[in-house]
């Protein structure tokens, strides 16, 4: 291989690429190589400060990190007259002390002045302080810290406490959102004050993805209301309930909770939900409203109460051996189709499979628009006898139909179909619509 005797001159672009890969201290050092290098350094749009090391108690090293690197580099940056745009600011501490809050806030302010796009802050507390102070020793993210955050598109926060950042009394002016450009948020080991998550997500009108991992909540519940959200993930969070409202654009939902007491989940207005994957060891109550077309996998060994309102196109794969009651409201409007029904059994296989997921349930409430939708004709029952839903645990069925059968023949057909679905059925209650209460009773 030919070896050059004189090392080649590197163009700006290459130097830029190399500097971007260096930790900040080394990058600053390299700026002394020559004027070209110095010029390139001041245009690097990434600042990355990583304390590194294991979480030991070496507070001397931590002091060096804060004083020698963080504080001094901030001074250096402030001297720079031209404020170049910052693509990413990352700060990772492994021995955070509450006295560091000042420099953290100063860096946040500085990075936002430079219109930072991606903010990555991880402030793990020093071990000994953690044992002593617990959550009180966390850095607190307040509204003030986010005052100038309109450039942020990605926010990744770890090991901090988020206060309630709502602003009261802003009824006169149009509400100014703190994070209008935010698309993706990822929060790990974050502790939320009461309703802090709700208010934080309320400040993000463009947020598309939200991920919560190992977070804890002052009122033990996760409540999110965001109509731009597309993907939501909750992993091992300390909360008893998850509530998601107005999630009209939510497409993908993942919940994993193996060790914590997540007992209840309520999802409303999830019209666009396509994909749902839930594993929750302690889940007892599940409610999903509004789905057209979701593919849901739910593994909930202790689930008692299942509620669904939506369309038959939704597919469930349910592992819930302790299911006690299933309430299914099918919004499909079958009226037109079935008034002249004699065609192939279009929806029947779907209905059969759908109901078949509820083998464990002891009780069921079923609401459909027209009774004919529930009728499995004799030929169908005989052809598919081996794949009948076989809801062998179902003893009581509460049935509500906007259009109920009127003549004896229809009633008989319906009863036969229902017995085919649940052979051990003992009681069928037909619910009537109560105008006053506006519901079926």
């Amino acid at each position: 291989m030919a070896i050059n005797t004189v090392p080649p001159h590197l163009p700006d672009l290459v130097i830029h690429r190399i500097i971007r890969l260096l930790p900040t201290k080394a990058a600053v050092r390299m700026s002394f190589l020559s004027k070209q290098w110095e010029g390139v350094l001041s245009s690097v749009p990434i600042l990355d400060f990583d304390e590194g090391d294991e979480n030991d108690n070496n507070l001397v090293r931590h002091r060096k990190f804060v004083d020698n690197i963080l504080k001094r580099y901030l001074e250096l940056c402030k001297k720079e007259k031209q404020k170049q745009l910052l693509d990413k600011f990352r700060l990772c501490m492994t021995r955070y002390l509450s006295a560091d809050a000042t420099v953290v806030n100063e860096w946040l302010r500085y990075s936002m002045e430079r219109s930072v796009k991606e903010l990555d802050i991880s402030l793990r507390v020093d071990k000994s302080y953690w044992l002593w102070g617990g959550l009180r020793s966390y850095y607190c993210l307040s509204r003030k810290a986010l005052a100038n955050a309109n450039s942020i598109t990605t926010l990744n926060l770890e090991y901090m406490r988020i206060k309630n950042i709502s602003r009261f009394g802003s009824s006169t002016a149009k509400p100014i959102r703190l994070l209008p450009s935010l698309k993706a948020m990822s929060l790990k080991n974050v502790h939320f004050d009461t309703n802090a998550l709700l208010y934080l997500t309320g400040e993000c009108p463009s947020m598309e993805s939200l991920s919560l991992t190992s977070c804890s909540f002052a009122n033990f519940e996760i409540c999110v209301s965001n109509s731009s959200l597309r993907s939501f993930g909750v992993k091992q969070c300390k909360a008893g309930e998850i509530r998601v409202y107005e999630a009209v654009n939510l497409e993908s939902l993942t919940v994993v909770s193996s060790s914590f007491e997540l007992e209840s989940m309520i999802f409303r207005e999830c019209y666009n939900l396509k994909y749902m994957n839930i594993f929750a060891r302690h889940l007892k109550v599940f409610q999903l409203d509004g789905c057209y077309d979701v593919k849901a996998t739910i593994n909930a060994p202790k689930l008692c109460d299942f509620n669904f309102e939506g369309y038959l196109k939704s597919e469930f794969s349910l592992k819930a051996p302790k299911l006690w009651s299933a309430s299914i409201l099918l919004w499909d409007n079958w009226d037109g189709e079935f008034l002249n029904f004699d065609g192939p059994w279009k929806h029947l296989p779907r209905l059969r499979d759908f109901l078949g997921e509820f083998k464990a349930t002891k009780g069921m409430t079923l609401l459909v628009s027209h009774f004919k939708a529930l009728i499995f004709p004799k030929e169908f029952r005989e052809t598919f006898s081996s794949s009948s839903p076989k809801l062998l645990n179902l003893k009581v069925l509460d049935l509500a139909m906007e259009n109920a059968p009127t003549n004896m023949r229809d009633k008989k057909d319906l009863t036969n179909s229902l017995l085919w679905i649940a052979p051990t059925l003992q009681e069928i209650n037909q619910l009537e619509y109560n105008e006053e209460l506006e519901m079926y009773v």
Binding site: P7, R17, E38
Partner: protein
């Protein structure tokens, strides 16, 4: 089609699947600064953006030999080696370990000067992933070294005059301190 004696890696016979497949694939011919000529498999050649642009966007016939005046023969060999491996691993599902092992070997015997030359070449030829990899390798080499060492290594001339240099250094003395004891 002249080929040089010690550059067998560059000739069409890469470790490809079968001779029949290779024959069907079209070849692109380039000539480096030192007069060496290389036959590249089309799919490998298209990994090199500058070649891709030359032939595709300007619709030049593959019979033309593309000149690469800024590239040395040995550099072309290495680039072809990397791109070929990259194409091979593209079709593999779990090529992570293999890629890592290959990368380690790739830079093993390269002096820093060669590494820098190759980086420049990757930049000129516009092979993004190779450039990223080489820049990473370079940054690893200089991460914990002081200014004088790197200056010599890279052959960079200090064009600050004494005054300027002192001033610049005074602004951030901490950057030079405790390279071994401190972080980074």
């Amino acid at each position: 089609m002249s080929t040089s004696t010690d550059n067998n890696a560059s000739i069409t016979q890469e470790s490809g699947p079968s001779a029949a497949v290779q024959d069907i694939q079209k070849k692109i011919v380039v000539r480096t600064a030192d007069g060496e000529v290389f036959n590249l498999k089309e799919e490998v050649a298209m990994e090199i953006d500058i070649i891709k642009t030359f032939f595709q966007e300007d619709s030049i016939s593959y019979e033309t030999v593309m000149p690469l005046p800024n590239v040395e023969g040995w550099e072309m060999v290495k680039v072809i080696e990397y791109c070929t491996k990259h194409v091979e691993l593209k079709h593999k599902v779990d090529g992570y370990k293999e890629r890592k092992a290959f990368q380690a070997l790739f830079v093993q015997n390269l002096s820093t000067k060669s590494l820098l030359a190759l980086t420049n070449t990757a930049n000129y030829l516009e092979v993004k992933y190779l450039l990223d990899f080489l820049c990473q390798a370079v940054s690893e080499q200089i991460k914990n070294k002081d200014v004088d060492y790197v200056r010599e290594l890279f052959g960079v001339e200090n064009d600050f005059n004494d005054e300027e240099y002192e001033q610049v250094k005074a602004e951030a003395p901490w950057a030079h301190e405790n390279l071994n004891n401190d972080l980074h």
